[in-house]
Symmetry: C2
Subunit: 196 residues, 2 copies
């Protein structure tokens, strides 16, 4: 039985769907999930993308919102299309690096996703992050550390670790170094974790 | 009950997976499938892509072949990675426009996909296309018409029809004008066709 790493950017709407569904699915398979927030921006930049691919390619963009409306309805997940997309996920991600792994980290991550994709609030705002920390039973210490640090060495290290795993999008799942991309591969990734 | 349009480029490996699985799934749902081969190249060009996105972005490319190996194994579909990718699908597509719709068109399409993705043959070659026609119980008349025509007006009309439906990738499924993109949305598209 191997652990399943769940890699995501807080600004990815499909990662939001994964965040809302992964724990029950993993529990059923008896697999432990390691939550790995990271920034996709630097990796997209290396691909020559200066914006979300959904903004760069109009037909893809129109499809995205249609598909998300259908999928969230099908999965029974709360959904409100964000006013601005993508929102800046740097502060949310840097704050996450100062939270100990354990059940509070997933709770914080889910709160950030819901703020961005169900409550139309902007996770780039410190007051929103503080509220997400509180919902996870945490004080604002991780936020203060994120605000005080400069570039964010831990965040940079996480991006490097994502790159090392050949990750190019989100959500991504990694089991013993093997990559699975996209929500639709969660089942296959869990199966791999179960047999490994 | 609505028909389901199945739009694909012969060079798309994920469309190959759809071509191998769509008819049993549609039959179970009682839905009729309209096969719509078209050329994705002109649409990719409009997105600024001069090559397959899997070649343009190396990490995506590495992932593609890994994922296809896993998926074909899971689905029990024959698979041999093509020597050259993407192959030129123009001749196969132009030939298809001269085949009457009916059961022979899907049979021809599946033969082309298998040549490209299971038999490591090049569907840009007239002898390969002739063999695919024969496998579908057809003579070489559609191939001769494709070779004789110039730019291919019917092919251009199909690309225009794809663009009109906001199609940006393959496989795509369209039900009463509503777009579903990717093999993983086939179930949702069939459900929509069933209730409409």
């Amino acid at each position: 039985m191997a652990d399943l790493e769940f890699w995501f950017d807080f600004a990815s709407p499909y990662a939001y769907l994964a965040a809302e569904t992964i724990e029950p699915a993993a529990a059923e398979a008896g697999v432990r999930v390691i939550w790995k927030p990271f920034l996709l921006g630097p990796i997209f930049s290396e691909q020559g993308w200066t914006d979300s691919p959904f903004n760069l390619y109009p037909a893809r963009g129109r499809y995205l919102w249609l598909d998300l409306q259908r999928e969230t309805r099908r999965l029974g997940i709360a959904w409100r299309r964000p006013a601005r997309f993508p929102f800046n996920s740097t502060l949310a991600t840097k704050t996450a690096t100062w939270i100990d792994t354990g059940f509070r980290l997933p709770a914080y991550c889910r709160a950030v996703f819901r703020a961005g994709f169900a409550e139309r609030r902007d996770p780039a705002t410190p007051t929103v992050i503080e509220e997400c920390l509180r919902q996870a039973g945490l004080d604002r210490a991780p936020l203060d550390r994120a605000l005080a640090e400069g570039g964010g060495e831990r965040t940079r290290a996480d991006v490097a670790a994502a790159r090392q795993r050949d990750i190019f999008g989100a959500p991504s799942f990694v089991v013993n170094g093997e990559l699975f991309w996209g929500n639709e591969r969660l089942g296959a990734a869990l199966e791999r974790a179960w047999v490994d």
